[in-house]
Amino acid sequence: MVSIINILRPNIISLIYFTVISALCCLTVNANETELDTLQVYDQTSNYDSQRITLSSQDYAFGDLTSVLGRTPGFQIQTSGGFGAYSSFTFRGSTARSVAVYFDGVKVNDPLTGDINLSTFPLWSLQSVDIYKAIVPAHLANNSGTAVMNLNSQSIDDKQELKVSGGSFGYSTVAGNISGSNYLLSAEWLTADNEFEYTHNNQTPLNSDDDYSTNRLNNQVKRNFALIKGQEKLAESTLNLMAIHRQYETGVGNNLNHARSANLQQSSTLISTNLSSKHWQIYLNGDFAKHSYDDSENEIGLSKDSQDIKYNKYEAKVVNLIEFKNIHSTLSVQTHQETTRKEDLIDDTLSSNKITADYFSIAHNLSLNQNIKFNNSWLKRIESDDTYQTYNSSLGYSFTNNSWLRSDISISKKSRLPTISELYLNQGNIIANPDLEPEKFYEVNSQTKFNFSHIGGAIDFYIRDSKDTIIYSYDARGVGRATNEGKSQIMGLETMAYWHIGKFEINWGLELVDSKNISGMKSNNDKKLPAFFHASQYVSLSYWINQLSLGIANQRQSDMYYDTANSVKAPDQDIWSISANFQHYPWQLGVRINNIFDKYYTGFKTEPLPGRTYIFTFSISN
């Protein structure tokens, strides 16, 4: 009961929740087309039960991709701490490698590990984020795992924008967009030393007498990002060209026992060509990336001096769209080749491994009367000695009674291929297992979206059974090995809502999860899945005084265990932030203070997170 009270505090949150639910049940309201400057906008037109997060002026002023996803129910951020810090995420309890992430339709997950560093994508160059939690569009269906996220870049619409920001811990950024009628140039430069103060427990958490205050070291971040897009009409078709260059560099800390010089550099050049017509889309993509770890001082405990990972990806995709009466068909045929070369310099000895994988996939979506939807996809991956293939299948139904309410329900069988890393690459005391099978997920998803004139939102409910989940086990010698012995059930409720009352705007998100490990392992059986919060809530309140908006936001997260046996519970988190933003066309000036009560938390395990931080931002646009 105490926890219930905690999660519902402050009381206004529960009031809003009941009001939203009541509105759904009791009200009959005629929607109008009033356009509101909401932080979240829900896409009512998609054929899929997707969520589109359209980025707001507040997001551009103060946010990044981690802050946007961090307030989106279902997603939780795992960060090493600080501005632009290396950050990944969990989605409904699964790691990022279970979520395919695309940038304008080009998959950008790390081909080796399946993970992704969200901080390599500046928000400034994005327009919106589409999240497909249930049925996956055919043109994005490629070993999707549990969900798909597509980052939509800024559109080409004749604009010029410039943003300059500064803040705590040496944070500064300069970003700009220049767009004409058929081109866009978007670029961003960011740097932060992230040397924030925190309390070091001297690695004796049960003895507070030896704690001391120190600064986080070797936590600096530098990021350069450039995006060029062009568009040309060719008779009935449109030719789209895109090139992205990402460069990211960060110090790699050793949790509380910080390293001084170990660092990670990531760079990627992605080139995409797309020819689109009414019935056809043809993609030719290439991605050339490199990740380099430097640990010449042997600070991060992996006994290696340096590690270079280079990968090249060549991709071809053809999408056919057919509309016949009330039947919509999307067929996607895709092939791509990934070549990964990993080199480690260990104690003056060079070790390398080159793996080439060829992928073939066919995916098909069929929609009848915009109500009944089928999705089927097949994926085959061929390496030198092994072949893997998976089939994914979904069946969905949409209830669209009127323009303001839409419900979708679907059942799905999804799967995730083991990553190259899990199959073939030994890492320290972890040995690879080439016999791994694909993970399997069986899901029921339902989503209801509503959109009145001043209130809107979405409610998701899902049940998922996961089988053959890849987990690691260690033996007497301390050697780890991946196996398919994981098995779990998870059920969750996710709600997002916005509400305008006069000059007030309220945004609210809630995520409640009940998970159960059902593997045969005694220590974990019947326990909750670790490493994500089972209760999470975000609420923000904005008040407009002419051109000035004042905002306050709170994020509470609770009920997370660090370990699979649920022996050790993570501390609950409660973070407040405030902001003020003054808009006077063509310029905008804002300030935001995060974590105003200067609370200190740790990241996934022991990485110290910053206390109070501030950001000043100035932007100008035509």
Partner: protein, 388 residues
């Protein structure tokens, strides 16, 4: 009415998904044994007390890491948090779970140190020695210290015993107030050098010469390489050597250098300093026990474990001068974490079976054969054990 129903349902749903915190500290006395348990994915560990009726009391010290071992003295139980944690927790053996103290074993003057404590050997209530595996210095500490500033008494430099300055002090024992320490002397994690036994006079922390015929060192070269643990019985010291692990390519797992069977069990008479290898682990062609991992002795019975492959160990028994034989066919090939005799001669075998983690207690029957007389069930995998 609708609102009421929805409100009730919502409250029920919220209630069903949230747990109520409990911060109660559990304690239990050391009656029979204490077992350190770890999770199969190494995400956590726990301290478990085993009562006189072999019932287990769990959750005495749950932690979110697993590189942990136990040490014991007359009245204290020490929980040693090794790599990545670098600290020791002391409990009174009458009240395990209630923390007497927790102190770091890192030198505060050295940034970024990973001292990696391996064992604490208590000489008295005011003096103990800590093996700091990743450093060149052993610490003398005060187990009764009331603050971290009083904890460290002295340090003894062992760096001269290895050319890289870190001799990998792995295990130690006290005999006649002399601290005997086994040094692995690894190079880049490989056991290519002779391992040493050294001795320190604890009255003045000076080295005792165990190698009187060699003026270059005070250390005694061991017959076995890569020692893992020591067992003292009367004046005889049993040393278990693992030998050299195979070397594989960091990335591909390709075998670069095969396992070297240079280990075994060596028995050293600490009075005469005579030594003999009582179990040889074989050679590249014949190695019947795999790599030898642990030893325990009770009377004329010697039990040891051998590592065959990932998660696969066998337990052997050697009675007197006979050749070793399989101890119990029923537990062959299990992930055996320990096989230790208690003071009464019962053998406790920890089996890290994730489905059914258990510690089997063997006792001799009327035919003088060992049979399982008790099974101690734990939630996590049994990993280390100490006895009252």
């Amino acid at each position: 009415m609708n609102k009421l129903v929805v409100t009730s349902l919502t409250a029920a749903l919220l209630g069903g998904c949230l747990d109520i915190d409990s911060n109660d500290t559990r304690t239990a006395p050391l009656e029979n044994a204490a077992i350190l348990t770890v999770n199969s994915d190494n995400s956590s560990s726990d301290l478990v007390a085993v009562g006189n009726d072999y019932e287990s009391f769990e959750s005495l010290n749950p932690q979110a890491f697993s590189d942990v071992v136990l040490s014991a003295s007359d009245n204290s139980v020490y929980l040693i948090n090794r790599f990545g944690q670098n600290n020791i927790i002391k409990y009174n053996s009458e009240e395990m779970g209630y923390v007497d103290w927790q102190y770091s074993t890192n030198n505060p003057d050295i940034a970024n140190q990973e001292s990696n404590p391996y064992q604490i050997i208590e000489k008295s209530s005011e003096s103990a020695y800590i093996l700091r595996y990743n450093t060149g210095e052993i610490w003398q500490v005060n187990p009764s210290a009331e603050s971290d500033s009083e904890f460290k008494i002295a340090e003894i430099d062992l760096s001269s015993f290895d050319s890289d300055g870190i001799p990998e002090m792995v295990a130690a024992t006290l005999y006649n107030d002399i601290l005997y320490i086994a040094l692995q002397r690894l190079t880049f994690y490989k056991s290519d050098n002779d391992s040493f036994l050294i001795a320190i006079d604890t009255s003045n922390n000076s080295f005792i010469d165990l190698s009187e015929n060699d003026d270059n060192t005070t250390a005694m070269a061991l017959n076995v390489r890569n020692p893992k643990e020591l067992k003292l019985v009367d004046n005889e010291l049993y040393v278990v050597g693992v030998g050299r692990y195979a070397v594989t390519d960091w990335n591909t797992g390709e075998l670069l250098e095969a396992t070297e069977y240079t280990g075994g069990i060596e028995k050293i008479n600490l009075d005469s300093l005579t030594s003999e290898t009582i179990v040889d682990d074989g050679d590249q062609d014949t190695h019947p026990y795999g790599q030898i991992y642990s030893v325990s002795v009770s009377g004329t019975d010697l039990v040891f474990t051998g590592y065959n492959a990932w998660g696969n160990l066998n337990t052997y028994i050697k009675i007197g001068d006979t050749s070793p034989v399989i101890f119990d066919e029923d537990i062959n090939g299990e992930d055996i974490r320990f096989a230790k005799f208690d003071p009464s001669g019962q053998l406790w075998v920890g089996i890290a079976d994730a489905v059914n983690p258990r510690t089997l207690v063997y006792s001799k029957n009327e035919n003088n054969e060992y049979e399982v007389v008790q099974t101690v069930l734990t939630t996590l995998l049994p990993s280390d054990i100490i006895f009252k």
